[in-house]
């Protein structure tokens, strides 16, 4: 049975459609009508016919002249390129617009001179000035993967690189980077539909955008169907799919705004919740919030490691109930490299202990940013799902004893990797005191981790346990002198 011929309750469709025409639909009716219309092309055909009659009655018996006057007033009040509503132009201009519309109704088209003003200012110059303002470029776009393809839905908009105010981009293939005039950078992955409302506001209809807001451009907003995200100086991503909005904060903080849930009348103020680096949340279509357990960065955004591995780590889960409910494991496909951020809740970085760098077999591997605060969780279990045969590495702080689960299943490679640490401030974990972090291997290395490996011949889950015990037990909780272990995975086929 084709979608066109699918059976539906025609009588009920007529009732609801006529109810809509009469302005008598309840919210449940709207929902039911929406489902009926989505279910069948025949239903939509019936619907459009009733709507055509209804709209024509409205136009012919009432609306025609009113609409014409209304359009005239609208055009006379239109901006140049900013919020327009109440702009008042000189009477001469408004009169000209009305004359033009009247002429069109009489099926007479005005050419040039009739509308020229006899005011001092040249109307054409005003038009040219208005055009140049309207066509305001707010950013430039460049592809960041080969064969990227996009359209702005306007003449000459296919693969154009200049982004104008009000433009909507349909990104069909690949990934692109949009640099706004404020130096804010937005990265889009296909398929995505996004509109640039202004230099500091975008609207995502479908797909996702990752935003790095430039200093001084705080307040940048991303709107979706179910939420509004306001930047407070951050790197964050917003993904829209199936009516839900996924927000991930990689750096800094954002305010998430949600409309109120009482559903009575339109409420100007909605719920506002702040999310910080390492936190992620899914906003469902009905406004409820749901935790995102792990987040995988896009492959094109990750490092330039020596291996072109593809994604190995499918997901990461644990059994830890966290106070900071919104925190997530970050999976960085192919991202293991010098200066890679090691933890979700610290700014420490992985580096080679010496100038020769991180062992080559780790470079370009998938890695997981774990929670450094988990270093003292003694019943911890982390399940790493591998989607292909791989070598899994655990990077264990040498200040702790290898735990039993590690000794049973993993082997010590004898190699090491370093951690470049910044002083930890619990109130602001993302703070980097000046000079604490250096760039490159063998510089400012504060800790050494040993590298343990396990060869997983088949894809599947590998369960890891709690961190090792401190040689020198000093119960200081999350401030204890140890790091949580790191996790890296490399496809088995790439081993030498």
């Amino acid at each position: 049975m084709t979608e066109a011929s699918r059976k539906y309750d025609k009588e009920r469709l007529h009732q609801l459609t006529l109810g809509k025409c009469n302005g008598a639909l309840t919210e449940d009716d709207v929902s039911e009508l929406s489902e009926l219309l989505a279910s069948s092309a025949d239903a939509r055909d019936e619907y459009w016919q009733f709507l055509a009659v209804h709209a024509e009655l409205d136009w012919q018996l009432n609306n025609e002249s009113a609409s014409t006057d209304s359009l005239a007033k609208q055009i006379a009040g239109f901006p140049d390129d900013v919020e327009p509503r109440s702009k008042i132009l000189g009477a001469g201009r408004a009169t000209q617009i009305l004359l033009a519309i009247a002429a069109c109704l009489a099926v007479v088209w005005f050419a040039g001179g009739v509308l020229w003003s006899d005011r001092g200012k040249d109307l054409a110059a005003e038009q040219a000035e208005k055009q140049s303002r309207v066509a305001k470029t707010v950013g430039h776009l460049k592809p960041i993967v080969p064969d990227s393809a996009w359209s702005f839905g306007r003449p000459g908009g296919d693969d154009a690189t200049e982004f104008q105010l009000g433009d909507t981009i349909w990104l069909n293939e690949g990934a692109v980077e949009l640099q706004l005039v404020t130096d804010t950078v937005a990265v889009l992955e296909a398929p995505t539909i996004m509109q640039v409302v202004s230099a500091d506001r975008v609207r995502v209809f479908d797909g996702g955008v990752k935003v790095e807001v430039a200093e001084g451009a705080e307040g940048f907003s991303v709107e979706t169907n179910s939420a509004e995200v306001v930047d407070l100086g951050t790197v964050f991503s917003v993904n829209v799919g199936d009516g839900n909005t996924d927000l991930v904060v990689f750096d800094g903080a954002v305010d998430l705004k949600l409309p109120r849930q009482d559903g009575e009348t339109e409420q100007p103020d909605g719920l506002v919740k702040r999310f910080r680096a390492g936190e992620a949340v899914q906003v469902l279509d009905d406004g409820t919030l749901s935790r995102i357990v792990n987040v995988r960065q896009a492959t094109h955004q990750t490092g330039d490691g020596g291996l072109s591995a593809g994604s190995v780590i499918e997901s990461v889960k644990d059994n830890n109930v966290r106070e900071d409910f919104w925190s997530f494991y970050e999976i960085v496909p192919g991202g293991m490299r010098e200066d890679a951020g090691a933890f979700v809740d610290r700014v420490h970085q992985w580096n080679g202990t010496k100038s020769k760098g991180i062992p080559a077999y780790l470079l370009g591997g998938d890695y997981v940013k774990t929670f450094n605060d988990d270093k003292v969780v003694d019943q911890l279990r982390i399940d790493v799902m591998l989607n292909q045969p791989a070598t899994l590495y655990v990077l264990l702080d040498q200040r702790v004893s290898p735990p039993a689960w590690l000794l049973e299943s993993f082997s010590d490679t004898g190699d090491t990797i370093g951690v470049d640490e910044a002083a930890y401030h619990p109130d602001d974990p993302t703070r980097v005191p000046e000079g604490d972090l250096q760039i490159g291997p063998g510089r400012s290395i504060n800790r050494t981790h040993s590298i343990w490996k396990l060869v997983a011949e088949e894809p599947g889950v590998v369960s890891l346990g709690a961190n090792g015990l401190l040689h020198d037990v000093n119960a200081e909780g999350v401030l204890s002198q140890a790091n949580m272990y790191g996790i890296v995975a490399v496809p088995l086929k790439h081993l030498n």
Binding site: Q15, R44, D45, A52, F78, Q127
Partner: protein, 186 residues
């Protein structure tokens, strides 16, 4: 500096339409645009707001309109986007059609334009075929913009009866238009 109509657009993409001619296009398309928008939004009260935003979007982008392109199709693209945008900003307490429903309705709209055109041609004649009660109620609601409640009060008729009368009238008008279509095709 004087600039005649139909001079090349600043980006050199070909001739654009002057403002006066564009206003003409906008005027001529209001009826179709409004019908399109009324069909996509569940509550009539939002349709005019959306139309206003569509008009603004069209005006802002008028320099990008290629006169060789079908204006209505170009304008419908904006309208569909504005409906989605409006929907995303609508109060949570007001339900809208789903995204997929809006998309399906918008995609199929161009196929419905012939019915709309026939409707325009024959509707006045079809109105005369309604019975007196139906015609009076239709004229009160659409011509005088009276609410159904006011019509019921003024005619001392139950609300449900007025709704039924309106529904019968719309059904009859639709059948009348379809018959005209069938007759004209033979």
């Amino acid at each position: 500096m004087a600039r005649p109509d139909k001079s090349p657009a600043p980006d050199g993409e070909g001739q654009s339409l002057g403002d006066e001619a564009f206003v003409g296009q906008m005027t001529a398309s209001q009826r179709d645009l409004r019908t399109f928008i009324v069909g996509l939004v569940p509550h009539q009260v939002d349709a005019d707001d959306v139309l206003q935003e569509v008009n603004l979007a069209l005006w802002r982008k008028r320099h990008l309109y290629d006169p060789n392109q079908d204006y209505l199709r170009w304008a419908f693209g904006f309208a569909a986007l504005e409906v989605r945008s409006f929907r995303s900003r609508a109060a949570r307490g007001r339900l809208w059609f789903s995204e997929s429903t809006i998309q399906s309705l918008a995609d199929e709209w161009p196929d419905k334009i012939s019915f709309l055109e026939d409707c325009r041609l024959v509707l006045a004649r079809c109105l005369q075929k309604l019975n007196d009660t139906e015609r009076q109620v239709v004229e009160a609601k659409y011509g005088d913009s009276q609410s159904v409640k006011k019509i019921a009060n003024d005619t001392n008729t139950p609300l449900s009866t007025v709704y039924d009368t309106l529904s019968r009238a719309l059904k009859s008008l639709r059948i009348c238009v379809r018959r005209s279509q069938l007759q004209s095709s033979h």
